[in-house]
Amino acid sequence: MALLQIAEPGQSSVPHQRRFAVGIDLGTTNSLVATVRSGVTETLADDDGNHLLPSVVRYQPDQTPVVGTLAKSHAVTDPFNTIVSVKRLMGRGVADLKSLGEQLPYKFADTDSTVPRITTAGGDVSAIEVSAEILKSLKDRSERTLGDELVGAVITVPAYFDDAQRQATKDAARLANLNVLRLLNEPTAAAVAYGLDSGQEGVVAVYDLGGGTFDISILRLTQGVFEVLATGGDSALGGDDFDHAIAEWIMPQVGLDESTIDPSIARLLLREACKAKEALSENDQVELDIELSENQRWFGLLTRDQFNQLVDPLIKKTLMACRRAMRDAGIEKNEIIDVVMVGGSTRALRVREQVGDFFQQEVLVSIDPDRVVAIGAAIQANALAGNDPDGGMLLLDVIPLSLGIETMGGLTEKIIHRNTPIPVSRAQDFTTYKDGQTAMAIQVVQGERELVSDCRSLAKFELRGFPPQVAGAARIRVSFQVDADGLLSVTAKEETSGVEAHVEVKPSYGLNDSEIETMLRESMDYASDDMKARSLREQQVEADRVIEALDAAMAEDGEDMLEADERDTILSASELLIQMRQTSETAQEIKLAIEDIERASAGYVAKRMNASVQKSMAGHKVEEFTVEEEKP
């Protein structure tokens, strides 16, 4: 029978309705997958009990690619077909390769494509395809462990990843047939793992020292959402440098010189150095016993003090990056409420000590620093899959569909565009359409289509009681604000009188992913229809405005100012326009009719203008109209 997991009280799922979701830390060197089972968040192991999957893929002719430890063992012997550190290439174009070029041993295929393709014995592959292999392997491991299909995964990316790199990561997931619930910033995931997202609001520093890279991120937590204030680091500084420092300390003692050392001896020294480093996290000193050759052994003693001296300059470099990041974020040390330690190298006690001293507080180290990112991602995935009774409120990270208001003619005016990260606040100014207008109806809509009738109406409200003015004189500022909970509030304010109205809506309410997808797809499919509909409506609105203005003017002074034949020409042009407005299906015809009426009434407009200028200048002297110098 199926193997069951213990559920929270009242949270037992119906058979076949369990929603398994995982968190994936897709790393440069190693990747991990984690999930929540029986209330425990844990990383998942492969058949051999290994949790870490080396992010290495090896391609061979006519074979499925090999991922992980087995591939890694060929990294040195078969460098062209064994792809390591592919994360560095994610979302990079051919042009970006030059800046990375020297670090990469691969042969790149000559293609017209903007995405670089690596030539391997198994064919040309892109970084996305290589990452997809890694994700596939983790997906397979998860499904075998959980005994069911996954509903999705949260995949972590570095905070500094740009849109192209994030999109590439999503594409890789799609290739691996993995549904991405969300991409999560790595430092955010680490903070989530420590439960900081449900804790006190404030600034959090995430110190991530891996094998070969160092990242510092300064995050601010407000209403359960982490905002990245600043990131910094060093892409060529990590625990490997600690090993080098120890190896360089050993070399002169055994009579070796870095420039002449045999590579195999160098590797041996590095291996021993790494072991010594790890041992010093437990012990105050470690005895070194290195067999340099058959008849040469070296015995030494490395104390913690000595080790500290060796690595202090390296740690100091990371702290300088921390200081820079804080300066970029405009944050003082005393504002930081928590410091999260990530990456295997933060196991070194000296690192914890120095980072703690620097931030003047105890650093968070209770979760395995290699796994903390995957664990945070898994917690988030579990909540997003709907398994967490406390995580009922799901945070939207971006706006799924554009938000806007209806304007004259039933057209949509987008105020916040889709994919805008939240929280966000945007405002746009609108004006009145008719003379003497004192109220305005505001309809809030959601969707990508041009006509309001094709979008979804979220709310309607009215702004009433602003002073009557000529059309176009009132300034009505409509502000959209979406807070971190995805709650939209819309405020309309007439700026000259200060009259204000306000409404609150939940924008994503009742729309599921497939509806959002349908709305998006329709906006693509009907793009050209929409464009035609929009320009037709725009011309219809313009025609209405022209006719209305003309009627008002004729009623006022048409009799006095116009000769009978002039008036007839204008009236017949106006009639033609009214007819066009009612019957024409093309914007162009209405536009021509509007142009006709404008031509016909040009003389009348000029006369009215003169009359109006004379009226306003009557009783004033010329001096009054010279430009006065600005006074303070």
Binding site: L3, I6, V14, H16, R144, T145, G147
Partner: protein, 108 residues
Amino acid sequence: MALTITQPAAERVKAFLDNRGKGVGVRLGVKTSGCSGMAYVIEFVDEVNEGEDVLFEDNDVTIVVDKKSLVYLDGTIIDYAKEGLNEGFKFTNPNESDRCGCGESFII
């Protein structure tokens, strides 16, 4: 009427409860749903419902079963099993006469 929990299963329950930081035991039950009649329920217990629940002690674990479920579960053995990478709790119920192919639900 009785239920049995094996030593390995009891160890897992205790570990999960420790990790969770609260809870008095584990609730076993059945509910009508699934593709073939009934489904097993296994949940943490924070509160025992006086009058409705029956408590059993086995291998240092408190098992809570509501009276309605107990008639379907009498004699059941709860074990912890590993199948490949997958692991979890397994019910061996003498009252079961048939189950759906996947074993997530059963009939008496």
